[in-house]
Amino acid sequence: MSQGGIKRIIGLIRLYGLLISGAVRAKMQYKFDFIASILLETVMGAYDYMVAVAALWRFHTIAGWNIYEVGLLYSVSKIGWGLYRAFLEEVDRFEGYIIRGDFDAILTRPYPSLFVLASRNFAMERLSFVIQGTAILVISLRNLLGLGVLDWSGVLHLGLAILWTTLITCAIGIATSAAAFIIVRVEELQVFTQNAPGTATLYPLEIYPTWLRNMLLYFIPLGVGNYIPVRYLLGKGGSWLNLVAPAVTAAISLAVAVRLWHLGEVRYHSTGS
């Protein structure tokens, strides 16, 4: 990379830091709200996992996966979701920008609109998902490492799986919000592209019918982020390719998402006339 390019990237990172520190300082004026919501969401957000615990407590395994193994799927998915929400909260809430007409101001800045949007907020309260996911990850790892099902290189690969899952989740979030350029309201679409797939990938994909599994692997590829590598790491099938697939999927889906975003931006209809 040219020296100018590197300088530009360093400049962008600096600017991002400056903008985020501003956003965080602004938010700290409402400290109590912030702490209350992070605590509440950490506890309440674990509902799905509690259901799984209750079920697996009684019935032991699901499709041959025990509660600790399911815990890996769950934590990779939840941490990815939490990081996506923390970094791209404003992208996730993008329909509001379209409805209020606030996207106009974003476009008057000399930077890509996704960068300007992302740098408006770092949603620390969403770290509740990361805290909760990490807690479940630690519990699961203690058990699996103790039994020798997983070794430390496996832990490293899990870390990478979290990274790829985060990027895939970001790509899905960006692509979904890009639809707001045309249909304005995407809250209901988000249920289909984010919430439902997010819930589905908390559990091993072999429990689902083929069409649903294919959907979660090829169309909304959240399953490639957690299920594919975790399955291989736990010795439940697949090859080293299972560890590469998430990286490739993350790259492709991000490229597609950013492309969709640009296509949408050209069709942006500002409110008011």
Binding site: D33, A36, S37, L40, M44, Y47, M50, V51, A54, A55, L56, W57, R58, F59, T61, I62, A63, E188, V191, F192, N195, A196, T199, A200, Y203, I207, Y208, P209, L212
Partner: protein
């Protein structure tokens, strides 16, 4: 004031019926987005069914055969809009408190509690028909139970209507907490987790550890989903509507007491 006395003092029930009908009709104009919601509910139904089919042993558990579990889940998914998502009443009460409109609303010659619950009930009934029936159709491929005996339909409906009333009252009370806290979200999260988990909206309560199952089945939350589902699937006899009736009475008294406390707070502090 005794419960019966209070019911009598509600005056002509006609106006509350009108409110319920209005609440129902108001929803008709959002039919497009509700259809989308129904598809989403159906998809979550599919996920639940596959989760529980894979987790339960082939012989089933308690008095549920695997197909009965499917029936339980598909039925529950159809009524989820009726019992679980009382978003409107809670926001309406909260907004009234925040904007100060609540003072005028409390002055009206109409019972504040009954006004909100009746409006909400209409909108819940809309949820039951216009969201529930499409979900039932979409999930019918997985298995949807149709009782042969018309009496079962009747009793299940009675149990459901009682459950809907308890739900509306419960969401009303969540909104009412706005009188004492700035953020009603905490109350909402607690009640909504309890009514999902202890109400049996996403699994039969028998899955829970025994001690929790015993608490859950006698809690008001079981009247929202578990009891109507058991009656509908002919797993329990119609007597199961009785806990619902008892809880409806208790919840009414609690809600009215809370409303009176809220009114006093408003009178003392002047809004």
């Amino acid at each position: 004031m005794s419960f019966i006395g209070h019911v009598a003092s509600l005056g002509s029930l006609r106006k509350y019926r009108v409110l319920a009908i209005k609440g129902f009709i108001q929803n008709l104009q959002y039919s497009a987005s509700h259809l989308v919601n129904s598809v989403a509910s159906a998809i979550f139904g599919v996920l639940e069914v596959h989760f529980w089919l894979n987790v339960t042993p082939p012989q089933g558990f308690a008095d549920y055969a695997p197909i009965t579990i499917v029936h339980y889940l598909t039925f529950s998914q159809c009524i989820v809009w009726f019992t679980q998502f009382g978003i409107r009443v809670r926001n309406r009460v909260r907004d009234a408190v925040r904007s100060g409109n609540v003072a005028t609303e409390l002055m009206r010659p109409i019972d504040f509690y009954a006004y909100h619950v009746a409006t909400e009930y209409g909108s819940l009934l809309y949820g039951l028909t216009f969201r529930g029936i499409p979900v039932a159709l979409m999930l019918s491929k997985l298995g949807f139970y149709i009782p042969k005996n018309p009496a079962v339909w009747g009793w299940a409906l009675v149990a459901l209507l009682i459950g809907g009333y308890i739900a509306a009252a419960q969401w009303y009370m969540v909104g009412l907490t706005a009188f004492w806290t700035t953020e009603i979200r905490t109350a909402y999260w607690v009640i909504s987790s309890l009514s999902l988990g202890l109400g049996g909206a996403t699994f039969p309560l028998e899955v829970l550890p025994d001690w929790l199952y015993r608490i859950a089945r006698w809690s008001p939350f079981a009247c929202l989903n578990y009891n109507p589902a058991r009656i509908y699937l002919e797993l329990s006899c119609p007597k199961l509507v009785l806990p619902g009736l008892a809880w409806a009475a208790i919840v009414t008294v609690i809600a009215q007491t809370l409303t009176r406390a809220a009114r006093r707070k408003l009178e003392v502090q002047g809004g």
